[in-house]
């Protein structure tokens, strides 16, 4: 059976993937294939991914990703707790951009309840999701830099990311595990003066971003490692279900923020960058440009930051009443008890909602039989789908190219294994 996953003819594959090295003779001696386990703890596998490589000298003839080392059964856990209790678990999907996951999950459940949150809540969610995108891409670029031998970039991106984390900490109370969304609203409103500080961050960030990108974009060492490496054609990108910067790197301008706007994304102006060749370098370029666009969105959100309530005030069976009411009035106290013990009340039905997360499209499929606990919750994680192309991409490459390809795909195992 001829599938994409069996590579009997490594020479032909190499000729396709690396024409520059294919002409070198490798068959003069009697050789044996070697198998090599890369990961689950390897600096370039960014977490606990294991690649079972089959090598012909330096050339990879076969690559089998082994996933599941970080499997925690999140989907099953969700069936055993109320909708709000699951919010902390969404932090731990793509733990590089928890705020974006929180938002996607909350919107999915709100869609089930047919609940519209107020404009201020939507704006805060967009703001935090874009900040999460910047922080995710900063880490992605920094790690990609390290993978290809550029340590300095990482230092700069981490310094910037730390500033974002200080802002997250002030907003949500935690740097990493933000748990910021609630069904029908948020954990709390933005603190006094916080949006001003976000604006200040953006102003000082833009020149530094240019500096960071200048370290890589026209760097001969970096281009040597990435240009023409791991080329994903448009057809392949679609066939393997890639999403996010990896899809756009291949020249397909699909971005749900534009195509199926949610949470008020239609009000903001931004461009969707796409690559032209689909190689690792294009994926890097896309992430760099996306950060500029995210800063653009952040500035627009802050410029027209809406007032009003930050949670759905009319959804008594979904969002908890304010604390001072709980302390002073019997009715609200009972409402709070009901909400916590029974969960936010949802109608029976099923919904699928997907959001454009930094790593790609994160989807939540929720089946409810009514009540406050999901009957089934399925998570479509972008990293898992993005990694599915690895066997195809790595065959015929050098081992060092595998490192560059992994860095360019920018995945996170918390989400892949979930």
């Amino acid at each position: 059976m001829a599938t994409d996953f069996a590579f009997p003819d490594s020479a032909a594959k190499t000729a396709q993937a690396r024409p520059d090295i294919a002409s070198q003779p490798t068959t003069e001696f009697e050789t044996e294939k070697m198998s090599l386990s890369m990961g689950p703890s390897h600096p370039s596998t960014h977490g606990v991914l294991r690649l079972q490589l089959e090598l012909d000298g330096e050339i990879v003839t076969k690559c089998d990703p082994v996933v599941g080392y970080l499997h925690r059964g999140d989907e099953k856990i969700a069936e055993n707790m109320t909708y709000n209790q699951f919010v902390p678990y969404t932090d731990r999907l793509d733990y590089i951009a928890p705020l974006a996951n929180n938002m996607a999950y909350a919107i999915a459940v709100e869609k089930l309840a047919k609940l519209e949150v107020p404009a201020r809540c939507q704006a805060i969610r967009v703001l935090t999701a874009e900040m999460a995108r910047v922080s995710s891409h900063l880490l992605g670029l920094g790690a990609f830099g390290i993978d290809t031998g550029a340590w300095t970039v990482f230092m700069y991106t981490f310094t910037e990311r730390e500033k974002l984390y200080k802002l997250f900490e002030e907003l949500t109370g935690a740097r990493f595990t933000t748990s910021y969304s609630r069904i029908g609203g948020l954990q709390r409103d933005v603190p006094e003066g916080w949006t001003g500080r976000v604006n200040e961050f953006c102003d000082q960030f833009l020149p530094i971003l240019e500096k960071i990108l200048a370290m890589l974009t026209r760097n001969k060492i970096f281009t040597d490692r990435t240009v023409g490496i791991g080329v994903i054609s448009k057809e392949d990108a679609v066939a393997y279900g890639l999403t996010g910067p990896n899809l756009r790197g291949s020249g397909i301008g699909v971005d749900l923020r534009k195509d199926k706007p949610y949470s008020g994304y239609e009000q903001y102006e931004f461009d969707v960058p796409v690559g032209t060749k689909g190689d690792s370098y294009d994926r890097y370029l896309v992430r760099g440009e996306e950060m500029r666009q995210s800063v653009r969105i952040i500035k627009q959100v802050i410029a027209k930051f809406p007032g009003g309530p930050w949670y759905a005030t009319d959804a008594k069976k979904i969002f908890a009443p304010p604390k001072d009411k709980i302390l002073t009035s019997m009715e609200e106290l009972i409402q709070n008890f009901m909400l916590v013990t029974e969960g936010p009340q949802m109608p029976a039905g099923e919904v699928y909602f997907e959001a454009e997360n930094p790593k790609g499209i994160l989807g939540f499929y929720v089946v409810s039989k009514g009540g406050g606990v999901p009957w089934r919750l399925k998570i479509r994680s972008p990293s898992f789908c993005n990694l599915s192309i690895l066997p195809k991409l790595c065959a015929g490459c050098l081992v060092s190219d595998v490192v560059a390809i992994l860095g360019s795909l920018d995945f996170v195992m918390g989400e892949c294994d979930r």
């Binding site: 902390p88 310094t159 748990s179 302390l327 709070n336």
Partner: protein, 179 residues
């Protein structure tokens, strides 16, 4: 306003010699030498903790020294990793706060399970449990990592109270209109 293809300019001859990058790298490094460091020398220096930070969960007393928790067990119920264990108890009838009726006999938070999510603080109807500024916990045994009631009050201290719910209730009872 829409999809923008990214341009890829080929490297110039000079750029292809690696020399501009090496010089640029040296410049970056040397410029950095003169700037202040971005790092902290932890633990001698500590980061500033903003208000509303979600650190170690603690129990608090009201300004009169009354323990605020009435052991309603809502936090125990909501805690996603089930880190909280409460044994409800009664307040003796001769105590000045006897009208509150309930207080926890035992209250344990297993810090090996706690994920610092803050849901306990969010749901508490008495504002009795707060995640405060402490963030580093350590111990030699698993047992040491369980915060018992005394330790929780020691960590929590006293927080201001805007409502004085139970004092008001007592005053109302004395005037014969409890409800």
């Amino acid at each position: 306003m829409a999809i923008i293809p990214l341009e890829r300019k080929p490297l110039t001859l000079a750029e292809r010699t690696y020399i501009p990058q090496i010089l640029g790298g040296l410049k970056t490094t040397l410029a950095r030498l003169l700037k202040p460091t971005e790092t902290l020398e932890y633990p001698e220096q500590r980061p500033a903790i903003p208000s509303g930070y979600r650190g170690v969960p603690t129990l608090v007393r009201d300004p009169n020294g009354r323990e605020k928790c009435v052991s309603c067990q809502l936090c125990e119920f909501v805690c996603p990793p089930k880190a909280i264990r409460i044994t409800p108890g009664s307040i003796p009838v001769d105590a000045p706060t006897a009208h509150v009726e309930k207080a926890p006999q035992a209250f344990d938070i297993d810090m090996l399970r706690c994920i610092y999510c803050g849901l306990c603080q969010e749901v508490c109807p008495e504002e009795a449990i707060f995640l405060q500024a402490q963030y580093s916990m350590s111990g030699y045994t698993r047992e040491e990592m369980v915060n018992h009631k005394d330790r929780l009050y020691e960590l929590g201290g006293t927080l201001p109270d805007q409502h004085h719910k139970w004092d008001k209730k007592l005053a109302a009872e004395k005037h014969g209109n409890a409800h």
